[in-house]
Amino acid sequence: MSASTSHDHHDHHEPNFLQKYVFSTDHKTIGIQYGVTALLFIALGFYLMMVMRWSIAYPHEPLPEWMSWVFTEEWRGRWLQDGKVTGETYNMFGAMHGTIMVFLGVVPLGFGAFGNYVMPLQIGAPDMAFPKLNMMSFWLYFVGGAMMVASFFLESGAAKSGWTNYPPLAQIADSQFVNQLFTGQTQWLLGMVFLISSSLLGSVNVIVTMVNLRAPGLTWFRMPFFCWAMLVIAFLLLLAFPPLEVAAIMQVMDRLTGSSFFMPSGLYTASAGALDVSGGGSPLLYQHLFWFLGHPEVYVLLLPAIACVAEIIPTNTRKPLWGYKSMVWGVMVLGFLSFIVWAHHMYLTGMGPMVSSFFQVTTVLISVPSVILLTSLLISLWGGSIRFNQPMMWAVAFIPMFGIGGLTGLPLAFNLADLHLHDTYYVIGHFHYVVAPGILFGLFAGIYHWYPKATGRHMNNFLGHLHFWPSLIFINLVFFPMLIQGMAGFHRRWYNGGDAYLEKAADGVNVFGLTVLEKIDLNILMSTSAWFLAAAQIPFIVNFFTSWKTGKKVENDNPYDATTLEWATPTPPGHGNFETLPEVYRGPYEYSRPDHDEDYYPQWHEPAVAKKEETADL
């Protein structure tokens, strides 16, 4: 198409405030919208966790005023008992903590924010392929999240059946209310349908952009690893999320039309008696549909963090990424395998040894590509002249933290060990090591790394240290004791932290020879660490919002002397990103090339002996 016809469709009018900042179609604005919204959701998820941790450490004491002031008096009268957290409220907060952190916090931050902001810049695209869909994707996410959070204020409260929402428990919950549409459980499901539609639009957009909008010369294997990771994530979201949408729709049908998709025959509960449903459904079906998403979702959470770290390490070691190609193949194998490991979450359902063995084998297999990724990052540090700036500290901390998370997962992959550890704090410790000190550290690294590009200013170094070191210490004090408690048999759903257990069987010893009595005091250490961890985030919040206006200005468009295309844009990039269409001449990590004077050779720099005439005609 010639430029003249496309001109007819494009009026160069100045966008007004709403179009520019709220209903923007610019991928960078949408990326920032995603990022800020996700960080707010993470803060909310963190708060819910603090209330839960209070209940675990001090189950008999009223919630302290510094924590309960956010609630209205009426809300406290409804949901707290003499100021104490009740089991029901704990369940509600637990379910929403998980949901918010996974679906509203980390995925939108990793894929929504970084995928949107950085990926098109790195491939030299003017924007995403479908900017309007991109905007819709953000707003669907926003509405879905708002629905879920608003349900806290319904008569029924928010969803309260775990972040996995297993039936039949999830379906009996809130079933006492007349208007089923406006119950927390139903709103959770409908919110989920919105979120899934949002990631569907996002993932289609990302893949199309990467296939069709790469800059001239940017062949597949000249793409930074970051983009490869985003591509794999997009495929995971595209293909793994629909089955969960099916599960959500089916559960909505069960709630609103009285069908029995997930209700077995002859179900009886103490409160409702024999349930007046046709029965004949299968709760196991829900678990399969849920975990078919649930496991790929783990990699949707993880890969953005690895992607950020994989960009930051070469930049700050001034060395090429070690094993770039093995990492690319590794991430693809990882993406594929993640579709066939889901039932390792379901060993306890009695699927039978054949099925369990199959999933055990695939689960062990998937650790191979994971180890390739992590080892490549680790070896990339070797022999580098490392610049320990803010992003690099987080990136380097990511490696051992994620390592602990990954290695503690190995016993859970095996059926035999998992039977003992299932639903204990060991599992909680394991996946929180992956997600919190692992993934969140990686994403913090990303925020510190690209902040100067997005705002034109550096974040404050002192506040950065004040954020990093306490976070590193306290996050380990929160999560490491969980691994020990888990082996003592602490169950993940004890809303009073094992307290009720003490009165009945204080000396009960489980298979690992540890007792609840010995380890219960760790609750206080962990909870206190959680409060300090919260305090450690204050420097970040201050830093994030004040550096925008007062931070040290960046001196040039490429402050880190990096090689990838996002640093070829003006700072911050304007609409359309690049001033001239970039062209790519080499791979993404050309640092310290012996035949080059500078220690970096950006992808967009023309070679010295360029055939200038030829390329100008393109």
Binding site: H10, D82, P126, A129, F130, N212, L239, F241, S278, L285
Partner: protein, 568 residues
């Protein structure tokens, strides 16, 4: 390429050279991949539910003809959408509109058939009896008087006339029968003396059915006790309801607000007290574990300034009348009390609450399955079925049916005998048998055939919508029965609630229908874009191509849906 304006998205109209695709084409293929996973999930759900069903999965229960016609209509529309695209490529705007118009019309006809099919299901009643016999049919309508008696007068029930139109709700039947409630006969009828409302769950619609029925029968529902509002001690309580006030939604809401205010106050008081106790305890018992300290901490409520908070409120009905409650809105009941789903408890006495049904199908397959699991001979179990001893008409039809099945079995046997040269034993082994689904199930066609002794000859096109009670000739052979409430184990219209076959049927076809509507809106929209055609016909053709691909996918889904839901 360099002269292109940089904030234009490239490859919207023309394909990129190395990939050979324009953006939206990649986009739609990815979207369809996701759709494959969506419908794949649903189909897997279908397989899972069917394979693990612990009840006889309904087979071939939908009228095939409308589904078949719909299949061809959808295939035709897939062809015309390609023609429409081709016409656009040839630059023929009017021909494009013609073919696109046909496509949209096909979509409309398809949805029309779906509406007819759905409506028939929503009117069809199913009952599972206590002995696992399944009856299908249409509910009769009748009038219920203030004593809970069902009045069969000229207005209400006549054999197969208007009574088959199930009226939901409670139509007041004018002056002539001012004290009866007209309703379909499937209700729990309960003589009420006292009502107790759960203030946390007051629901306006639930309350309305009570108020309306009380008004119809000229009964007064009045609060039994005074209710005061007091949010703090020391403040004089305000009377918001006096004993004898008439029940109303506003009053209940006022009582609810009073309760919430009192609860809020009390919670704050108790929380403050508990904080104080812990402070003291911690000062005294330093180093003692929290759970041990907790054993000695208890709030002494006498010392606190609490206000009364009651979450329920009662009302009396004078004179006693019988209320008609839809069973779906009742949570539980016994002879002397009933709880509705909004928490309203009714104290009184349960009246006879039969279901009056015009039967159009009798299905013993579930009963047979249960009998086999318990090791009982299935044929014996069927003979003892409640329905056979309580409905002579069903019994007669069943005898006919057995003869019919025996005749077919005998024919199979004779056929086999020819192959085995008269060896009876061998013939018995290889002879076909009537499958259980047909052996233990009488459809509406069977009932008509047996009832009319073969006089009514049903054609292949009869029953486009299934059993039709408005056709008096057929309906004369649908036996009527009054089923006592205690015989009913489960009942429902043919909605997703009835069983998982219908649940998955409505879910998949409903989602498919939404896809049809969405696709038709997008495709139809392009018919009204002559400007786009004039300015950039290639772009418009791209869009139609992409939407057309979606349309083919929707068609493909139906091609899978039709056999699994209609034929298997």
């Amino acid at each position: 390429m360099n002269e292109k304006i940089l904030d234009e998205i490239p490859y919207i109209v023309n394909p990129r050279k190395d990939t050979g695709l324009f953006n939206s084409k990649i986009g739609i293929w990815l979207f369809l991949a996701s759709e494959v996973m969506l419908f794949g999930g649903l189909f897997s759900g279908y397989i899972f539910l069917r394979v693990y069903a612990d009840y006889p999965w309904p087979e071939r229960v939908l009228p095939i003809l409308p589904g078949l016609v719909n299949t061809f209509i959808l295939i035709a529309s897939s062809v015309t959408v390609v023609f429409a695209w081709a016409m656009l490529k040839l630059g023929k705007w009017n021909m494009f509109r013609l073919f696109m118009g046909i496509t949209i019309a096909c979509a409309a006809i398809f949805m029309g058939f779906k509406v007819v099919e759905y409506k028939a299901k929503f009117e069809h009643q199913g009952v599972r009896l206590a002995d696992y016999t399944i009856l299908e049919g249409h509910l009769h309508a009748a009038d219920v008087d203030s004593h809970g008696h069902i009045v069969h007068d000229s207005h209400g029930h006549d054999a197969h006339g208007e009574g088959h139109d199930a009226h939901k709700g409670h139509d007041d039947h004018g002056n002539k029968e001012a004290t009866t409630v007209h309703t379909s006969v499937n209700n729990i009828i309960f003589d009420a003396k006292k009502l107790t409302f759960d203030l946390t769950k007051v629901d306006e619609k639930y309350l309305e059915t009570i108020l309306e029925q009380a008004a119809t029968h000229d009964a007064k529902v009045t609060f039994s006790k005074d209710v005061f509002s007091q949010s703090e001690p020391g403040v004089k309580p305000v009377k918001i309801i006096s004993a004898g006030d008439e029940l109303s939604y506003e009053k209940l809401i006022a009582a609810k607000e009073a309760f919430v205010a009192a609860r809020t106050h009390n919670a704050a008081e108790r929380t403050a007290e508990l904080r104080r106790l812990w402070k003291e305890s911690k000062a005294e018992n330093e180093g003692v574990a929290g759970w041990k300290q907790a054993q000695d901490i208890a709030i002494d409520t006498d010392k606190l300034a609490l206000v009364p908070a009651k979450s329920s409120i009662s009302a009396t009905v004078e004179p006693h009348i019988s209320f008609v409650f839809a069973p779906q809105k009742v949570k539980s009941y016994n002879a002397s009390s009933l709880t509705r789903k909004d928490g309203t408890m009714v104290v009184g006495s349960l009246q006879k609450s039969p279901m009056e049904l015009g039967i159009d199908a009798v299905d013993f397959t579930f009963l047979v399955q249960q009998a086999e699991e318990m090791g009982i001979d299935p044929d014996d179990a069927v003979e003892k079925a409640w329905i056979l001893s309580h409905s002579p008409a069903v019994k007669a039809a069943w005898e006919e049916h057995k003869k019919h099945v025996a005749a077919i079995d005998e024919a199979y046997f004779q056929e086999a005998l020819k192959k085995t040269d008269g060896d009876e034993e061998k013939a018995r082994e290889i002879a076909n048998h009537v499958p259980e689904v047909e052996k233990y199930r009488m459809t509406w066609k069977d009932l008509v055939r047996y009832g009319s002794h073969g006089e009514i000859n049903l054609q292949w096109y009869d029953g486009f919508k299934g059993a039709n009670h408005k056709n008096e000739e057929w309906a004369a052979h649908f036996p009527d029965i009054s089923i006592p409430r205690e015989q009913i184990a489960f009942e429902s219209k043919f909605t997703p609630r009835w069983n998982n076959y219908y649940a998955i049927y409505f879910t998949i076809t409903g989602l498919h229908g939404l896809h049809i509507i969405g696709g038709a809106i997008v495709l139809g929209y392009y018919m009204f874009c002559p400007n786009m055609f004039r300015k950039n016909p290639t772009w418009l053709a791209n869009r139609v191509e992409v939407a057309g691909l979606f349309w083919h996918f929707v068609d493909l889904v139906w091609i899978f849906l039709f056999p699994i839901l209609y034929l298997m």
